[in-house]
Structures are given as C-alpha cells and as structure tokens.
Symmetry: C2
C-alpha cells in the first residue's frame, strides 16, 4: 500500500467484513485473505492485527477457539451476534464515507 495512513481506522471494518464472509478464521489467515483480496496492496501488520483482535474480543465482538495443529497453535476467531451486526453497520458507514469523500474531493461518480 502506497499510503498506509489512509488505512487508519479501516482495520476493524476489514476484519469484521472478512470474518463475516469467511466464517471462523485465524490471524495469519486473515492477513493472507486480505493480501489476496487486495491483490497484494494491503498487508496487515501483526503489530496492528493482534492487538485489534484482542480488543475486539474484549469488547464482545469476537469469540476465540484455540486449536492445536500438530504442535502448532492456532487461534480461531468468529463473530458474535453483536459482531455480525457491527460488520453490517461498519461496512455501510464505510460506503457513506466513500460517498462523502467523493463529494469533498469532487471525484467522478464513476
């Protein structure tokens, strides 16, 4: 991503939406999914991702399930009912945000 500062504030929205669409996922998987969806343009850093996931869990948006794969540990995250509702509203907010910014920056409606 050329301008990482634009990404600020979108991390939660991305996590919510990806989890909503793909169900139960673990942290590393989320980074790969986002990298794939963005065709390499967005690389979530671990230092931002894990604290965000922990915060969301503490806020009741996510639940976790730890699974042992061989000797390796994976922590799966899934949305709670509240989290699913939040995914919906956050995405809607983002769409509104884009529309507003399009007006302010006078971009083509394309």
């Amino acid at each position: 991503m050329h301008s990482p500062e634009l990404l600020k504030g979108t991390l939660q929205t991305i996590i919510l939406k990806v989890l909503k669409d793909h169900g139960k996922m673990y942290g590393y998987e989320i980074t790969q999914r986002v990298k794939h969806l963005s065709e390499g343009r967005i690389s979530l850093t671990e230092g931002a991702l894990y604290p965000a996931l922990h915060r969301m869990e503490a806020d009741g948006i996510l639940t976790t399930e730890t699974v042992n794969i061989g000797k390796r540990v994976r922590k799966y995250y899934a949305l709670t009912t509240e989290g699913k509702a939040m995914a919906k509203s956050r995405v809607a907010e983002f769409v509104d945000f884009i529309d507003t910014m399009r007006q302010v920056l006078q971009l083509k409606t394309s």
Copy 2:
C-alpha cells in the same frame, strides 16, 4: 460524521484538494468549505486543522500570508508547486485506496 476514525489520514488530502480548487484560503474558510461540500457530514476540528496546516507549511507544501481584516487577523494558505503536485498524487492515491477497499470489502462496483 458518524465514524470519525475513518477520517484519520484523509485530512491532508482534503486540505490539499480544497486548496488546489479554491486557491488561497484561510483556516476557518477551509472548515466551512468542507462542511458545505460534505453537506454537513464532515466538520474539521480546529485542534486537528491548525496543527496540520502548520506541519504542511513546515514541510514546504504551503506558504502563508497574513492579512488584517479590520482588527482581525486572517492567515491565508496557498499551495507551493510541490503542494500542487502533492494534491494530485494524494487524490490519485485516495482513488486507488477506494478501489482496493471496494475489492476487499466486496462492494458493488456501482
């Protein structure tokens, strides 16, 4: 604005674009212009705006001109050559960002 955290990282882009389109402007005028363009959805706060303008001036993106209107002081900001180029590239970056986010969030191409 419903979700102020989405605005993070877009302040400079907004300032650059508004100044590019409207030429010389003063701080308060920028807040009013943005409020108008966004139909009331974006209210730049002074605590964010003025430090941002000062930073941009220090970075050589803007030049200032202080004008006395009666007993009141107005500080006009204008883009330097560098600033104009930056306005262009930042807006382009934002358009890219929107496209990428649309893919990640799987939004309609509308």
